[in-house]
Subunit: 199 residues, 2 copies
Amino acid sequence: MAITATQVKELRDRSGVGMMDCKISLEEAAGDIDKAFDILRKSGIAKAQKKAGRSAKDGNIISYIHPGSKLGVLLEINCETDFVSDTDEFKELCKNVAMHIAATNPIAVKREDVSKETLDKEKEIYLEQAKSSNKPENIIEKMVEGRINKYFKENVLLEQDFVKDPNQTIKDLVTNAVSKLGENIVISRFSRYQLGENK
Amino acid sequence: MAITATQVKELRDRSGVGMMDCKISLEEAAGDIDKAFDILRKSGIAKAQKKAGRSAKDGNIISYIHPGSKLGVLLEINCETDFVSDTDEFKELCKNVAMHIAATNPIAVKREDVSKETLDKEKEIYLEQAKSSNKPENIIEKMVEGRINKYFKENVLLEQDFVKDPNQTIKDLVTNAVSKLGENIVISRFSRYQLGENK
């Protein structure tokens, strides 16, 4: 089947992936651009995972102040070079993540960053609740584990559903950016201030 | 001596203080506006100190991102009402303090906020240095005290000289705003991110 240059260009614009890879995936997808994009995403994500080990020393410090100036977020997102940090795509990612943090008030970037005290307190509450169900111990353990995972999903930035598109998590958002921009990208830290909460 | 309405208006615009007080201080200063302003500042500061006990629950969350997006500051400054937090003067104060923090990298808002570990480490260094002078113990004590005060002056936000006008400290800047805006004003917290320092 013949793949046209227009098809290749369209897929390239959509995916940010090189011409040759676009052509190969279009051939594999028999010219169906959506299918070819899925093929690329899969291999792109595979590439992104390979990039995750590389050191990300450049990036941007950005802020989001909610209209009215009673809520604000400061955020550091790293990439590998200022070539990428200057792109509109990277800036868009920064803006989206900062706004998302303002909206959802996560407690940490990733689950490893949640303090032991916070986690122990949550576990204790879930254990009490689970015990009152009078189920066998192995079931109780699973119930607690399920609740903890739900807690992470709701409160940890990378695991949260993106407020502007709940079909992807913040981690997906980052992974897609890595795939498109071709560099490792890391959300390293954030501060979120709400007026008066510091008393 | 006759004080003109123009003089009163000029002093009022400069100080933010009521007509009557402007007139009285102009009379006291024999029509010299600079002198009258000093008189007002002194009484204004006296008033500001009275206001310092009042609770400041409103205010603004503001940010400053240095051009290039590699350095940013998030800041909370409180006042008593949103009537004041919406004024241009208050917003100007917020902007000035945020930019100052970006420039000087203070370690805390006030000296009481500096951690005991940090302070002990500084003291130890100064003590070592002072001891090597072979001066008597009471002199050594004073040398260390002097160095600690210098450390606070250089590293604590409220004690630092304002970068845009080194004739006043950040504390002076706040006190003048309190005097002009008529409400208690408190710098409650800040975060300062510099790209890559979080590794």
